[in-house]
Symmetry: D2
Amino acid sequence: MIIIFKENAPEKELGALREEIKSLGLEIHESVGEKTRLWGLVGDTSRVDMDWLSARQIVDEVKRVQEPYKKANRKFHPKDTVVDIHGKKIGGGHFQVIAGPCSIESEEQMNSVAKSVAKSGAGFLRGGAFKPRTSPYAFQGLHNEGLKLLLEAKKACGLPVVTELMSVQHIDLFQNVDVIQIGARNMQNFELLKEVGKLKTPVLLKRGLANTLEELLMSAEYIMAGGNENVILCERGIRTFETSTRNTLDLSAIPMLKSKTHLPVIVDPSHACGIRWMVEPMALAAVAAGADGLMIEVHNDPEKALCDGPQSLTPEMFEQLMGKVQSMVQFMKNLSA
Amino acid sequence: MIIIFKENAPEKELGALREEIKSLGLEIHESVGEKTRLWGLVGDTSRVDMDWLSARQIVDEVKRVQEPYKKANRKFHPKDTVVDIHGKKIGGGHFQVIAGPCSIESEEQMNSVAKSVAKSGAGFLRGGAFKPRTSPYAFQGLHNEGLKLLLEAKKACGLPVVTELMSVQHIDLFQNVDVIQIGARNMQNFELLKEVGKLKTPVLLKRGLANTLEELLMSAEYIMAGGNENVILCERGIRTFETSTRNTLDLSAIPMLKSKTHLPVIVDPSHACGIRWMVEPMALAAVAAGADGLMIEVHNDPEKALCDGPQSLTPEMFEQLMGKVQSMVQFMKNLSA
Amino acid sequence: MIIIFKENAPEKELGALREEIKSLGLEIHESVGEKTRLWGLVGDTSRVDMDWLSARQIVDEVKRVQEPYKKANRKFHPKDTVVDIHGKKIGGGHFQVIAGPCSIESEEQMNSVAKSVAKSGAGFLRGGAFKPRTSPYAFQGLHNEGLKLLLEAKKACGLPVVTELMSVQHIDLFQNVDVIQIGARNMQNFELLKEVGKLKTPVLLKRGLANTLEELLMSAEYIMAGGNENVILCERGIRTFETSTRNTLDLSAIPMLKSKTHLPVIVDPSHACGIRWMVEPMALAAVAAGADGLMIEVHNDPEKALCDGPQSLTPEMFEQLMGKVQSMVQFMKNLSA
Amino acid sequence: MIIIFKENAPEKELGALREEIKSLGLEIHESVGEKTRLWGLVGDTSRVDMDWLSARQIVDEVKRVQEPYKKANRKFHPKDTVVDIHGKKIGGGHFQVIAGPCSIESEEQMNSVAKSVAKSGAGFLRGGAFKPRTSPYAFQGLHNEGLKLLLEAKKACGLPVVTELMSVQHIDLFQNVDVIQIGARNMQNFELLKEVGKLKTPVLLKRGLANTLEELLMSAEYIMAGGNENVILCERGIRTFETSTRNTLDLSAIPMLKSKTHLPVIVDPSHACGIRWMVEPMALAAVAAGADGLMIEVHNDPEKALCDGPQSLTPEMFEQLMGKVQSMVQFMKNLSA
């Protein structure tokens, strides 16, 4: 951490700050120029609040050198984390596809989609029982009833299931869920992060629409600091000025995240683009950029879907996509071999 | 709502969709050109999900004409809402300043700030007991203990209090709070919105960092649809590419919101800019743009604040600001008279 | 084009507007609901200015249905454009890599880079003689002297050359240049677009940092409307709130552009990310997303480069990248076969 | 400037870099921690290219401490610049309103608007002869003929004129223009900036749609480095995700710019919002935030305007606005007195 002081900062106040910083166990390296005075703070600064320093009248600016996250930081944990869910592994060279409908609508729908995605090679079944919807008048999900249908479909197809938790008050209903998803709008719902941090269930953490990669890692840190180190990160598009796609899929997030953290990184091209025919090119591009997995929306009858129909693939389209994705995964393995 | 069809959409599928739309009680006005077929849907389309239409293979694009919110819509409620909190009114020509520290730190701090802001003319006391912090290692607030200190300070200064609710599980602790704040990061925490919608306590709803004004109004609609119509909207800066200020304060949101909704609109220049000396010019600009109130961070010792020190005013700075703000409010009243 | 009128728009003004619209050769399909009156304009609306309509007091909103570009529009030109530069083809299944240094610095540098990228399989040599730099104190390029070195290097390596034109006043110097690049900052320098529209030289048009895909296509339309239909589009990253990469590479732009236009689309991962080690994953992802080519910065000594050193590959790194890119191009061909 | 090195950077390469930096006349202050080595560069670093340093393999990150602009920097020129145009002053307490139509359309239009805005108290007449339009099929301005009409209107109303220069090749036509406007899309047209830097005519420099305040100041520096120090900065809205206004007017840019530079700062609410009825509240807010002037679009018949009709005021609306603006300017003077 570097502190840049204002010109003519009084020696008395510098002295007082020097004592406070030393009392945190940090060393100070000072550099004084004609107009500029800098301090480099040496030691573990991950818990030092930048605002606490920049609030001082004598301080002009504070810059971080060390990342503010530790458990999620590859510097301290160079080896890739492999999340193992009943034998299905993600990360460290293990690639998985999570597929299923946006929302759970009926027994028939879930069982039909579950069987077809399992047959096509998906590793996990997804489906939402609690749906975050912009409008209070839109379908909000089947809630507890939906979770039951999901767990039945799990039995039918044999795949572990991924579903979104929207509120601390529903957490008890999620005991048999294999992976708990924290959605983009809840990436900084810190109370929810703390609660899933107390569980053992792996967490799929989606990047918020306007959140930096550092903030995503800080949210992962919340979960890990609570004791749950099974976190899977998911890029799903960010909000920009471009309106032809629903969001802008930031594939450069994959190599950047993988350089900064040991956690697995997957991509959701369905939500990013919001358009069915864009899912295939963006899924392939995500694999080429190094993703550890994909999350794809599949619906038995997209035209009648209660949610996100425009971006859902039919089971036939998904079957075809899986073939291409598996070839690409193999191709990338050969390329880096 | 307007549906634009793809060229050569088969008559059979058009017919099926026509029946479905009519069954919703909507009329269809068709317009057929050489290459384009449009349908204008006439009737109450606020509950029609655009995705449900755009998922169809035959549909090229769907455009909304009516706003998707009703209770928050000025078209249906032309008169300004005045929120009345124990006699303190906001909206419809009533202007209020909410002031206090970012976070509640101690009895001494709260009482000292509370008395000074009351003396300077603030209408409400703010202070956070539950703090949304990007880092799990940063100060998270005093929680229940903090709420007690806030309510004691309320007694001491006589001002109604505003404080942030971050999770459904804390809602019982907020029974004596006068205004519940929903923070920017929770603007689309829909489960939380539904819960405060069941209360009678007025809600101060902050715009999310990357949320459009329409989304802000849809979140207000969530609360109002639950039965709580006492919603105050708050612009607090949005996330853009500019980095010299913490966020970009969008003051054009004030006249735009006031044209679309009858709800009061206030502005938080402290969080928007993140810099103490910018609070005054932006506070005055907000009043000039038509804001119904301001939310200002004041700390008895900003250099030692546990949170947001760089943007906090001292009580002396606040006293001076209040004088200017009150003059500006009066000036604007005279100008429009 | 759809016009949505305000409630109670007077019949007299509607009549006057009706006459004006008919005089443009457009038909009007009217749809009148309880609160809403819509007109669908049928005919060629690509030259109708939306503002001209929305300026009317009686108009609430105007929405476009047809795209405002014609020559660049795939609807009117379904077949892929193949740009042929002395036998080197881009588009319609032909893939090309453009490589070379950011700026031309010396004869030795250019010849050394030119030979090595040619040997590695690049199809075009790039190098900047006129450099757009944020600071007036930064190296601005060798100008005419640089162009001479570029043309000498062209002779030495046999590759056609691509270089940026920044101002109409330099256009005469570009007579022997094979492809003229219009940089991101000049994407809406309309006077420059008009001038290159008068030439026969193919134009590489880069997307501006904050420009939508529709605006990019409108800028291509400027060039094509002047008579030069050899336009290659280039995605090079857009400006967002994320700061860990220089820009955010928008790879979804590739399939979206290719659905809307017949023009070739290439990607510049070097400028998008600004970081050397990110070039490879993003280059491979671009190919997987369907790009028709790549633009890659290569420098014989990146640590001493006068411009963009941090993102430049060494010739050895480029050699390795080319091998992977060529495998990926072949893999994608097989996949879609 | 601060250089943060990678762990285990070899002493040999550190030594070589140390020599290069010293040869630029800079001193190095070194700070070595357990995992981190920092160098603080002391001296005039405004001309040191950050990329030149960050391209090194041994360098992890480079951070700027000093601003990269000098002539525009308030640190070196604490006193406000007052631009004096034939006795009309802007900056340093002098407030001016620039008014007129978006584009010059006819003699009758210009003379009528010119007389009415002069009568209402505008200080300058604006009007565009060269218009940057997104579509090649939109009205492009009357060019030389338009400039003649502008200069005739100047004679008629007695106000100095402001008009946009879009290309170096038109510069000779602008000899009698009082203030040359560089539009938002040309803010980083560096060749154009260099040319107007050679003139004595004051330059009104608009902020680009996606440009930071630092980039705006660097573009001002281009003009000033050429010898023309009469630069007026103009905030006119930036591009964000919000679509209800054309752009997002960033009024916090006013105090921020005025803290960093001595140049005058004006605001264009017409282009920022794109909506007629938002001009008044945003104009008043701009004055309250400390702007040195306003630029307002006025048209004698906005419904028939060839460009930007939706945001143009009628002369009557402008007359009323001017009254309020003048009161606000006076109010702000009294407030700070």
